[in-house]
């Protein structure tokens, strides 16, 4: 542990300094020196990134479970639904995908990593992996089984391929025996992976 600070020293939890790590420091320093970006703007961006996470998407899902008018808005214009509760994604074309007894939706970006990150935070590593991107469009049930999700053959599985211009948020099925729960309580049941569509929402017993 160092006993003094160095502004340009990458954090200690970073791995070994690869050429690309050096490039990150070099490019960032140059952009700041040239006043293309400022340190203050960077810190503001870090804070914004920290505020993003599945708790945002979970608020939307819990509200959709509770409020038929909000569910209707989400079906028509999910971007407007996000904005209406003060969430950030002004630039997103967002589509909500409702899971039902008949249809299960799962989301991928086969080309890269498009993801509704203002609502879910940064994507998990597996979402960006070649294996997930390649396999889920071909063998969705097999991939879902890797997450412990087994669906009856009678349920149709739909795989949605995101793009730079179009992002998806899965609305999982509302868990049983949660009648009368507040939106805050319901949101606790809504996980990141359930909004990607690889698992259901948590059950009451899971809390």
């Amino acid at each position: 542990m160092h006993d003094h600070t160095h502004p340009n020293q990458p954090d200690e939890e970073d791995g070994p300094f690869t050429e690309y790590r050096l490039l990150e420091v070099a490019l960032r320093e140059l952009l700041i020196e040239k006043d293309v970006i400022t340190q203050a703007e960077l810190h503001k961006t870090y804070r914004m990134m920290d505020d993003r996470g599945p708790h945002n998407g979970a608020r939307m899902v819990a509200k959709a479970w509770s409020d038929p008018a909000y569910l209707d808005l989400m079906r028509r214009d999910a971007t407007a639904a996000a904005k209406s509760i003060g969430l950030e994604p002004t630039w997103l074309n967002l589509i909500a995908l409702e899971n039902t007894d008949a249809v299960h939706n799962v989301v991928v970006c086969t080309l890269c990593s498009c993801y509704p990150w203002p609502l879910l935070g940064l994507p998990p590593d597996w979402y960006k992996s070649r294996a997930y991107r390649s396999d889920v469009v071909q063998n969705p049930r097999k991939v879902l089984a890797e997450f412990g999700t087994t669906l009856p053959e009678t349920v149709e599985v739909r795989v949605h391929d995101s793009s730079a211009d179009m992002r998806y948020l899965v609305v999982p099925k509302r868990p049983e025996r949660t009648e009368g729960w507040s939106e805050e309580q319901l949101a606790e049941l809504v996980t990141r992976d359930s909004m990607i569509g690889v698992v259901p929402a948590l059950a009451k017993e899971d809390l």
Partner: protein
């Protein structure tokens, strides 16, 4: 299965339905340097200095060997640098010199 003839026309990034290693979900925490790359990219985008299609063009132009070898944020920082060079915001000479300065500075800390 997608036919071979169609696969021949694909970019290296276009992997939907392509046979590859079996999928296994793994979790991992973003390293701080990766978050910094993400933040700088976002800031440049906000300022209209880096469009998402520019970044993707650069990533997809990495070539197969480099695309497979580089991690996600290694691809990004490399692509971001290409766009900054194209736009004349930084020069080859500046970045080359700065990388060496950073290398020396970091090495002297150990």
């Amino acid at each position: 299965m997608v036919s071979k003839s169609l696969l021949d026309f694909r970019g290296v990034h276009d992997v939907g339905g392509v046979l590859c290693e079996p999928f296994a979900p793994d979790e991992y925490d973003y390293e701080p340097w990766e978050k910094r790359v993400h933040a700088v990219r976002e800031l440049l985008a906000t300022k209209g200095l880096l469009r998402v299609d520019e970044l993707r063009r650069a990533v997809e132009g990495l070539g197969e060997e480099k695309y497979q070898r580089l991690s996600y944020y290694e691809q990004w920082i490399w692509a971001m640098l290409q766009i900054m060079l194209e736009r004349g915001i930084v020069t080859d000479a500046e970045i080359g010199a700065r990388v060496e300065t950073v290398r020396v500075k970091l090495a002297s800390h150990d």
